[in-house]
């Protein structure tokens, strides 16, 4: 049987199956080449006031005529009236998103999934390790720490991207560092101006300093990266119940019905995307599950 995992309560559930609510794009922030943050406001006044989400949950964004894509929420859960989604333009739907302008309409269902249990780790050290667009679902956690910095111990962000041009939220890096959030950044391929680290994200563990007896690790990125993050975490005697991962699969319905995101006995959209590694351990090593 599944061990009891701390999961944030879903504050808002769509009451209609597969039928979206409408939101307006209020601002578009370009983040990197082919990546931008879309700030959405629900059009329905009462819905906008009721809407709540937790760190790490996702919405299904819908472009009529193109379809839906599962996009994690990357904004501050304390400001739920303005929902930010950092989107990389790679698929059919996200390419249609890239053609949106301010004041355009987007369908929205959500929020879905489990959340990072950050509030249970008050007083502890926090390691956030992200690869590429994987920083987006962790940004709500960064907001939480930023807003309540005194509640947490040492905070280290281990972040990597393919090239320096692909790094997200670079303008916010100094703001985070001001609040004593340590940031270690690495890239796979450097360019002429890059003076930082070159290499993969798990390698940053060798430079990071934190109290391993009292640390929680949150990770999101390519699965191969997370495998090694888990490896590095366990090697530092961080127990599996204090390592959390956010997984990605093809998702269609977001409610554990359509079957696409089934991974073993889990539906990533409902039982995930955030998993405690302890719960995931029997399945995570099985490739092509």
């Amino acid at each position: 049987m599944r061990p009891e995992v701390p999961v944030a309560a879903i504050a808002h559930q769509a009451d209609k199956l597969l039928s979206p609510d409408w939101a307006k794009v209020v601002e578009i922030t370009p983040e990197a080449e082919g990546i931008a943050t879309y700030w959405l406001e629900l059009e329905d006044e009462s819905l906008r006031q009721r809407y709540r989400f937790a760190h790490g949950q996702f919405n299904m964004l819908y472009i009529p005529g193109y379809g839906e894509a599962a996009i994690s929420i990357s904004s501050d859960p304390e400001k739920p009236d303005r929902i930010g989604h950092t989107i990389r333009f790679v698929g059919n739907v996200t390419r249609a998103v890239s053609r949106l302008k301010v004041a355009d309409q987007v369908g929205l269902r959500g929020p879905f999934g489990t959340a990072w249990p950050i509030e249970q780790y008050k007083g502890r050290d926090v390691v956030l390790s992200a690869g590429g667009i994987g920083l987006a679902p962790l940004r709500p956690v960064i907001y939480e720490i930023y807003n309540h910095r005194e509640d947490y111990g040492k905070v280290v962000i281990l972040y990597g991207a393919r090239t320096p041009k692909d790094l997200l939220y670079v303008n916010e890096f100094p703001v985070w560092e001001e609040k004593d959030i340590e940031l270690m950044v690495t890239v796979d391929r450097a360019d002429q101006d890059w003076t930082g680290q070159v290499g993969v994200v798990p390698m940053l563990f060798y430079r990071a300093r934190f109290d391993t007896n009292n640390t929680v690790v949150f990770s999101c990125g390519p699965e191969i990266m997370m495998r090694f993050v888990v490896f590095e975490g366990l090697a530092r005697r961080i127990p599996p119940e204090h390592i959390y991962l956010s997984l990605e699969r093809n998702m269609k319905c977001g409610q554990g019905m359509c079957g696409h995101c089934q991974m073993g006995p889990f539906f990533i959209c409902k039982d995930g995307p955030v998993y405690c590694y302890e719960e995931l351990e029997p399945y995570f090593h099985l490739e092509d599950l």
Binding site: P64, G65, K252, M263
Partner: protein, 332 residues
């Protein structure tokens, strides 16, 4: 026992046709199909197992969920739910069992599936007990039998000169009340027997994950997905947007949900190209694991009813019983 002659039953069916939609097994090009009928004469009374389960009337192969009209940037949604009553006649016990399995995931879920529920609420199920079985039948291995009433509103058992009528639910009582049956002392015929197929217990599957059986069996698999489409419990779906031909300057879209299957290569592909179940052996293995391990742990019931359709229709003779036998041998 309530007994009804064929003439009276046909007359009753014809009376129902004037009130509501009636679906019954007909013969078409050598296959049996559940189709809406206009007269009881269309029914093929000698039907065995229709090629598609009654699942298609609850979880449609293609179902419109919503339509959108887009004009000057404004989108209007129209939801489409049907409510008119419908009777399905000749439901086999294995298909009724299949609906119970689907209920566990579509109705017991939170939130539940409104389309499936609407179809379930508006449909009455008149079952037909099997008096003979096909070589591919193995429903008794899955806990049901050829005369099971589970999930049906009313069960009809064919005997020599007519039918035995057994109401199961209150709705079935209502149906039986309008039938012209007579009380008669009759012995219900014993249900036909079939071989018991052994299969590994739910906890035993973990050890079977890396067996060479999967690779060997999948060698001839074509990933054609017929096994999923004819399965009474397979319920994966895709959601698509289609453009309806434009009318007077409006752009109209429909959102449809269509059957999908984990045997398809594109099933799990995600943007960026990562495909976590690329090889067909992995996809075939998933079909077995879903039915006998994952589905029971997620929803309760085993997701197989022993109807045997996937065995009969697989173009390369992949036999679920054969594979289950092999797996059971490994376990013991």
């Amino acid at each position: 026992m309530k007994f009804i002659t064929k003439t009276d039953l046909s007359a009753w069916i014809d009376a129902q046709i004037t009130n509501c939609e009636v679906v019954a097994p007909i013969e078409h090009n050598g296959h049996y199909l559940y189709e809406p009928i206009q007269s009881s004469r269309e029914i093929d009374w000698s039907f065995t197992r229709p090629i598609l389960p009654v699942k298609e009337y609850f979880f449609n192969p293609t179902e419109q969920i919503l339509t959108f009209t887009k004009q000057w940037g404004n989108v209007t949604i129209h939801e489409t739910l049907q409510e008119d009553q419908r009777i399905i006649i000749g439901v086999r016990p294995c298909d009724a069992h299949g609906l119970k399995v689907l209920d566990a995931m579509f109705l017991d879920a939170d939130p539940l599936d409104p389309n499936y529920k609407a179809h379930r609420d508006r449909t009455l199920l008149v079952g037909f007990a099997c008096i003979e079985t096909l070589p591919t039948c193995f429903c008794t291995s899955l806990g049901e039998g050829p005369d099971s009433t589970d999930g049906l509103d009313l069960l009809i058992t064919p005997i020599n000169d007519g039918f035995i009528v057994e109401p199961v639910t209150a709705r079935g009582e209502g149906l039986a009340a309008s039938m012209g049956w007579v009380d008669r002392e009759i012995e219900k015929p014993a249900p036909p027997e079939m071989p018991i197929i052994p299969f590994p217990e739910q906890g035993a599957w973990e050890a079977l994950f890396h067996l060479p059986i999967w690779e060997q069996t999948a060698e001839r698999c074509l990933s054609c997905r017929i096994c999923a489409y004819v399965c009474p419990t397979c319920r994966c779906f895709d959601i698509r947007d289609e453009l309806i031909a434009a009318k007077d300057g409006k752009q109209e879209f429909e959102r449809i949900r269509v059957w999908d299957s984990c045997a398809s290569e594109a099933y799990r592909k995600i943007a960026g190209g990562h495909n976590p179940r690329k090889a067909k052996a992995e996809r075939l293995r998933n079909r077995f694991y879903c039915k006998f391990d994952y589905f029971p742990s997620q929803y309760g019931p085993l997701a197989c009813t022993g109807c045997g359709r996937c065995i009969e229709l697989c173009p390369v003779n992949i036999d679920i019983c054969e594979t289950l036998n092999q797996l059971a041998e490994v376990v013991t």
